[in-house]
Symmetry: C2
């Protein structure tokens, strides 16, 4: 039986503040829950949901509460993806899936990047959330202390098709509207871009699309 305090807890986990306080997050839907159960992700509770969970989607009537994994130590042995203030949950979810597809182990997010355990992000990541090591940290100290070359993505950087990219490095993607922030700009050693082939009037590529195209470039070599 589901008691009132459990319902209250589950509802509170819709908010980042309470997810961080309890170290827990909620997912809904049999498909993604089954996928998470087959990974290292630690389950706290499973519920067959019913009318008690009003206001949540509960597709397929199942709901899982999982422990937010502690970020593991970052190894600087491959490309690392850094997100500077990516705000749209769908974009972050897609980027996490892309990291999974292209075998990128570490995604490092600025503190103001949307929370990866936000329900909308989880919906877009599918099971990939369990396979990527996601760390929220201040980017300036992280980047300053890292041993790899740092590539920032800009509208007006050098074409990624014309420069030789190394086997490992840091790839930074910025905010949907404003790009990479000023403090991080100063640290990005190389400014790269995806060149436009059509008329210059075309709307810029979405940040998740740019991530996909850039990860493809990094891996194809």
């Amino acid at each position: 039986m589901v008691v009132k305090s459990q319902i209250r807890l589950i509802k509170s986990l819709q908010q980042k503040k309470y997810r961080n306080e309890h170290g827990l997050f909620v997912v809904e839907g049999i498909k993604v829950i089954k996928e998470l159960l087959s990974t290292d992700m630690q389950v706290a509770e499973l519920y067959c949901s019913d009318a008690k969970f009003r206001g949540m989607h509960t597709p397929n009537g199942i709901l899982g509460v999982f422990h937010i994994p502690k970020p593991s130590k970052i190894h600087f042995s491959d490309w690392i993806l850094v997100l500077d203030s990516v705000r749209d949950p769908g974009n972050l979810g897609t980027i996490i899936r892309l990291a999974d597809w292209y075998g990128i182990e570490h995604v490092v997010c600025s503190p103001d990047t949307v929370d990866a355990y936000n329900p909308k992000v989880l919906q877009a990541t599918m099971g990939s959330i369990a396979r990527i090591n996601i760390t929220y940290t201040d980017l300036v100290p992280f980047l300053s202390g890292n041993p790899l070359p740092i590539y920032g993505t800009y509208m007006t950087g050098t074409s990624v098709y014309t420069i030789a990219m190394p086997k490992k490095g840091i790839l930074i993607l910025g905010n949907e509207a404003n790009g990479i922030s000023n403090n991080v700009n100063l640290i990005a050693q190389q400014k790269i871009s995806i060149p436009q082939y059509g008329e210059q009037t075309a709307e810029s590529l979405n940040v998740a699309m740019a991530t996909g195209i850039l990860l493809s470039e990094l891996r194809r070599k």
Copy 2:
């Protein structure tokens, strides 16, 4: 003054059937309307919308009715994008923007691909809709009669990173759930894929993302 018959017409244009009957489509929002007005797209009417257009979004209170352009003749002088039953409006909108970004002139869609003048597609394409020649036609006769090599995208094709792609050809992307249809399968001469680098459990790439990565591959060479 907006009369009742105009309101009825505009509301009817939310449906494909009436868009095709009248040869007209509706867009909302100052930004995209301004962009369309700066292109060859022919405007039929502009309205400063008010409460009369209940049930529509009308951001910024402006609404434009444009003529659906007649598809122009297809030149087989570059890569042509072919969509076989792409159903999601957001995916089609993103694909049209990508075609614009990568300078692809012609997008050929199966008749069951979502209508490009659907309001949700327009929202995702921005002004790119005016710069791409979009043709709806039966794919089998179109493909059978074309002079270019035909590449179909599959989960299990040859890695696009390992094969030399020609300077021009046909690139086919299939349905979100079922991929390329059986009849079109028979005509696709080369089966290509975007290889996966992470664990094989990663969810497959979305069709719009796959289009972006493949167009990048075609243009970088």
